[in-house]
Symmetry: C2
Subunit: 465 residues, 2 copies
């Protein structure tokens, strides 16, 4: 009697908890528990991340280490995929050259500043340049200034990331323009170089690099100052206008080179032509190990295949891990992948990107054309209770990732994995983005959350009610 | 017309979002946004934590640094409270003495082991002791062994924290018995000392201390090995049974000493006799700066008063910050506080403890006698939507904290602040629990979550529908 009651209660609970899709929730929750157990006890992400970060740090597109990273991860993918291959793509090749030199000249002294060239910047002359600095608080302020105030000077854009925003990616989004477009806007008014405050909410001594883009024909050198040094420079300029600053950079852009996306898949047993992608980007900036950005996303994507394979699952739909080359400064790998996807026999239904660091998982965001976006969000909301025991609570509309978003016009539901964002910009694009700053449990819980969601999609598809 | 429609829509949204308590949700959400802004831009927790950790690290009850911590935080509290006072309490006084020495003797060599005495342990003789080691996997296994196998030996309890549990406090709870009761259980069978595997899920070289308790008259020395060295010791013992181990510890228990809880409050304007407590514990272990455990909880509790004061709030109910002395090895401060609370004119309605580290906030748990527990949980659930924009999602029944739980028989709703638990036991009770391992944003978001909840309770009370 007691067991019948228990069973009835269980059925009631299950029905109540499944407002939209009545699938096999008891079995689903058991499978997800097994996925988490596997990820936390025999997951591969953390050890693979060590291998990647220590053997192929600074794997900027076109570099020797980017090629090493392709070789290394191709071996990792081959171990866990039914089929693995390299997808050729041409990528840009920019090099920082010698360590940059920058100092403020004040009271007859040189005050050294921690700075680094922005990715894509031109060099100064080999002797460097010296010019007075003028500080502005934002691109908008720069645009309002008369060119006569700017001409011949170094523009210092000292915009802080808004620390009041809870999602630090929103703060970053509100500030990234100074890095990407600062040089053009300053050159437009006759500046000879641009310095930006590093994009981080933390006060530290590390310059944070990142891509900048020239659209103007006048190309001036562009560099990021550490936030501590940005504060020092700003303090000086408050008391002494137009102090001279010396800057020397020897960065250079070379012809594009051949590189690869690394791809592996477990073929679906029932619907092999429905393809689910999970991916991260294999390239990193040249001043870091690229541990959180985006070694984490790569090794988690490989771990999804590893976990499902170790558990002996035969997914109904094809699950494909894609490590995209060149997200940081061109997304050429993603463009190549999207172009090839169009002519594939199979149809991509879901693409999930992990490119927000290996932190404690909080949820998933979804974007895409209709009806995919709504179908996908409804699925996520119906599965929400399956993730609650794992403290994954956020299922929302929102951005996915630079790489998978290239598939948008192919009617794919695009998802972004959302880990906790509070610490990401402490290390982003800077020397502190190293293996030691990744926590094993946080990283492996990310693998588990990704593997669980991908397993659900592989079982139930996107449109199946 | 348009503004009337907007107003109507607003009313509908507000009513829909407030299934239980119809308070003033629009105003509430504005106030909470202001609290978060204040915490993230002018919060005091991070700077106060630096002061506390660097000037009064290793502030174990009865130590000089514990007295310094009282002085330091009393000054901090006086700055933000209407009234501040010290509450006298007697506390135990145990000292580690000289750095412990421990090595395994194998193949004619001494293999040094990172270990530390457990808090409360007796010393070895001044020459140390040498005895063969026997490994057991748990207290249960130890209990099953015949005393003849244990007599004269050092028992090594090598139980791992269960890494599969998502909440690491559950893993800790399942393992803490080896630390607290290991010595008694081993002594009961004639062991001469006990070594335990440190209570952390990470493989590291830091021994993690913590309280142990003797109930038996036979008191044997008790120490924790780093997890890396526990693995090494276990590997040796697998091949060579009964290898000898040398242990030397000079710890000592002194007579109890006078110490203090540090208390400050902002008096309620309408219901001053309804008291809301927010607190952490001021003492820490002697081998760390006590940054996460529990400097974080202390400075967040002070920050709650700071934030509300800076914003010019006059709370309806009394908000009291309590920094409890001696949570780690006796909870004598909490006992004293609870005893005094009984005879106070005011009635405690809510007590919230922050003692799970300064990590990214996830939620609150509540416990207490009925009807307080249910009343409180219902309030939390009704306010859940106010916290969703701040990514605080967990509102559940569950433990509060060692200190506030002493108020349980006074019919107080007891709450525990829940930050993300993944990294806590990496540093818990070990040298790595230092200021540099606390992230400013995570810590300040904790202040904000606490201040927001406390403001809501101060406005609406516990029983007010």
């Amino acid at each position: 009697m007691r067991s019948i009651c228990t069973a009835l209660i269980l059925v009631c609970v299950v029905c109540w908890a499944q407002p939209v899709f009545l699938q096999n929730p008891v079995n689903d929750s058991i499978v997800i528990r097994r996925i988490y157990d596997a990820a936390l006890t025999e997951g591969s992400a953390y050890t693979n991340l060590y291998t990647l970060c220590k053997n192929a740090p600074a794997r900027l597109s076109g570099s020797v280490n980017a090629a090493k990273a392709v070789d290394l991860t191709f071996e990792m993918v081959k171990l866990v995929a039914d089929t693995a291959w390299l997808q050729e793509t041409m990528v840009p090749h920019w090099e920082r050259g010698e360590k940059e030199v920058g100092h403020l000249i004040a009271g007859g002294k040189n005050i050294n500043m921690n700075l680094c060239a922005l990715g894509g910047s031109v060099a100064t002359s080999e002797h460097g340049l010296t010019a007075p600095v003028i500080e502005v608080a934002s691109l908008d302020e720069l645009k309002l200034l008369d060119a006569s105030l700017i001409k011949g000077k170094i523009v210092f854009i000292n915009q802080m990331m808004d620390e009041k925003l809870i999602d630090t990616f929103h703060s970053y989004g509100g500030c990234a323009g100074i890095r990407v477009r600062g040089a053009d806007e300053a050159a437009d008014k006759g500046a000879v170089a641009v310095l930006i405050r590093s994009l981080t909410t933390r006060d530290d001594d590390f310059p944070h690099t990142g891509v900048m883009i020239y659209k103007s024909d006048t190309r001036i050198p562009a560099a990021a100052l550490s936030t501590n040094d940005a504060n020092i420079l700003s303090d000086y300029l408050e008391n002494f206008k137009d102090l001279p600053f010396y800057l020397k950079m020897s960065c250079q852009t070379f012809p594009d080179v051949k590189s690869y996306n690394v791809i592996g898949e477990i073929r679906g047993t029932e619907f092999p032509d429905e393809i689910i992608v999970v991916g991260g980007h294999l390239d990193s900036w040249d001043n870091s190990e690229g541990a959180h950005d985006d070694g984490a996303g790569c090794v988690q994507s490989i771990d999804v295949l590893h976990i499902l394979k170790e558990m002996g699952f035969k997914p109904k739909r094809t699950i494909r891990c894609v490590l995209f080359m060149n997200e940081e400064n061109g997304a050429k790998g993603a463009d190549t992948y999207a172009l090839n996807a169009k002519s594939e026999k199979g149809k991509h239904i879901i693409a999930i990107e992990s490119d927000r660091g290996g932190f404690s998982p909080r949820g998933f965001s979804v974007e895409g054309n209709e009806p995919m976006q709504t179908q996908c969000l409804n699925k996520l909301l119906a599965w929400k209770h399956l993730f609650a025991p794992y403290l994954v609570h956020i299922f929302t509309l929102g951005g996915s990732g630079v790489d998978v978003s290239r598939l948008k016009n192919q009617d794919v539901a695009l998802l972004g994995f959302i880990p906790d964002s509070q610490r990401y910009f402490d290390v982003h694009h800077a020397a502190e983005d190293k293996f030691e700053n990744v926590n094993e449990r946080e990283l492996q819980l990310g693998s588990a959350a990704l593997a669980s969601l991908i397993w659900l999609f592989s079982e139930y598809g996107l449109t199946n009610p």
